[in-house]
Symmetry: C2
Subunit: 326 residues, 2 copies
């Protein structure tokens, strides 16, 4: 089994290291956080003294390198990889994909790279917040461009499956547009809702119950993590925010003029039903042969239809879809 070298041992990186070891892979990590390094070693995991040491070992053992640092630290890590392991097998778990793919293309043109983004987390952070089961049944986006080596995609997707996740094949731009709507906008909404509620003073906060606690939960995430995600996906997030402002403004206008919120409530209800339907039922299943010329576009199409890769061999990917694929 392919060895795994994880750079960054916070919530996500720490969980990848644990899950890789649980899956039986040789795996080690490195982190600039002394606290995370000590905690990981205390838990019995292999942590190299420096990122350089970890990368040299990855080069020697032909390991898959996983970048699990914040976006802000990406360029520095890529420069270190360029020096110590320029042709590395490489993936990442950063929450935006287009900026990461561009930087990898620029700084590591010879890397065998496919980007990744596991859709799992908590509002806590650091090694202690992680677990080997964090990714169980989660979606894990793995980027697939026309020039992505299928072998690199297979390595990244294989790690995701070993971590218990299911793989969504997707282009970097489509990924960033989607997560703007279902991850970054929710963080922004939670922050705004939280502040508007607190503006109501202790009375409002004391009366707050399920709807407010749920709607503001991710506002409890460390602000620097929220900023790294949201600011890093500026263009796509602006699109999503504009859609939200449009819908909220229309609701405001309707409530003020006719007193009705019917179209807003109906649209929200229908959308929520679509969400639960899509997650509850994965009926169709199809197999994509990885050796064929149209394998990349076929996988991306299935991903865009909500399909997820649930099994992978050297030559084939099995994709489950919300409905029977066309």
């Amino acid at each position: 089994m392919r060895a795994v070298c994880v750079i960054g041992l916070g919530l996500i990186g720490g969980s990848v290291l644990r899950a890789a070891v649980t899956a039986g892979r040789p795996a080690w990590g490195a982190t600039v956080s002394k606290a995370d390094a000590t905690a990981a070693r205390d838990d019995g995991y292999s942590v190299e003294d420096t990122t350089e040491d970890a990368l040299r070992r990855a080069e020697a053992e032909d390991a898959l390198v996983v970048i699990a640092t914040p976006l802000t630290a990406l360029r520095e890590v890529l420069r270190q990889i360029a020096w110590h392991a320029p042709g590395a097998r490489l993936t990442d778990v950063v929450s935006v994909k287009d900026p990461v793919c561009s930087e990898v293309r620029e700084l590591l043109p010879d890397a065998r790279y496919a980007g990744g983004h596991p859709m799992a987390g908590t509002s806590e952070s650091g090694w202690h917040a992680g677990s080997a089961t964090l990714f169980a049944n989660a979606a894990w986006a793995v980027t697939l461009e026309d020039d992505t080596p299928l072998e690199a995609w297979r390595e990244a997707a294989g790690l995701a499956l070993d971590c218990g996740a299911q793989v969504t094949p997707v282009s970097p731009a489509e990924h960033d547009a989607a997560v703007a709507r279902i991850s970054h906008l929710p963080h922004l909404f939670a922050a705004v809702l939280s502040a508007v509620g607190a503006d109501g003073g202790p009375l409002a906060l004391s009366l707050a119950a399920g709807s407010f606690f749920d709607g503001t939960r991710v506002a409890g995430t460390a602000p620097e993590l929220v900023l790294a995600m949201t600011e890093g996906n500026r263009v796509a997030l602006l699109d999503a925010v504009d859609d939200a402002l449009g819908r909220l403004g229309a609701a405001r206008g309707s409530l003020a003029s006719t007193g009705s919120l019917k179209s807003t409530a109906d649209a929200g209800y229908a959308a929520r039903v679509s969400l639960t339907d899509l997650h509850d039922a994965r009926r169709g299943s199809t197999t994509v042969r990885l050796g064929t010329p149209n394998a990349r576009s076929r996988l991306r199409t299935l991903g865009s239809q909500g399909g997820r890769v649930v099994a992978l061999t050297e030559t084939e990917a099995k994709v489950q879809s919300p409905r029977q694929p066309n």
Copy 2:
């Protein structure tokens, strides 16, 4: 113990009936829903054939009547009470208070009334969704105006405590302003977020995880219930929506111009910390004598500071506050 007559046996009314019986009170209900009536009887509860029968029994047994119908059915129920039990002991569990208090004042000037609103629920509805423990440790607003008979307030608050809740004394207008922010706006945000996410297609919905599921949960509430709540609190909700549009617009402007969401994320985080602090720690405790001239204003002041009544005798209310009361 005071008998309880519950008009309307959906999620909230059905839970009040169960909780009142669990507390050892004589209690019966009535509902225009044949399905809810049958289900409640099958579970062993006393359900009169008609609202009139239930109200006549309330008059005969000097019971506390609890209106647990949607706001849209309120006037009809009040007319029936005016006919069969015009001086009734009366409360309600409708989610807005100023409109209800006004109608009671108009149609039932002799009722011994204090309005109520338990801050608990699920996205399900009907008798089957309820339980005797729905209100455990929840806040339950009970309205207190300068001319509210303290005896009526004590009856409504006593029922709330018997149901396992804690009582927030509050004026109808302050209640409506607060719940606009922490209940009605969250429902509107959930609907908008849900629709903006679904606009991203099956790819976005497939990648959706915790932040989106939590932020859209209450969009799964039956739209007619959402409309009854939100449209019934139009003026206060418009205020809250305008604040939200202002904050979201400011975030949009900052992201587009400087690329920063720092002030939005920081404000949201600080507000969420205030929320959890206020709910985790109730340190101070004070006693209000109900016989004194300033009892009403003292109780409302403590409520506005986040205080909750946790025990009640004929003459005293014990109030727990987030901090030592001034």
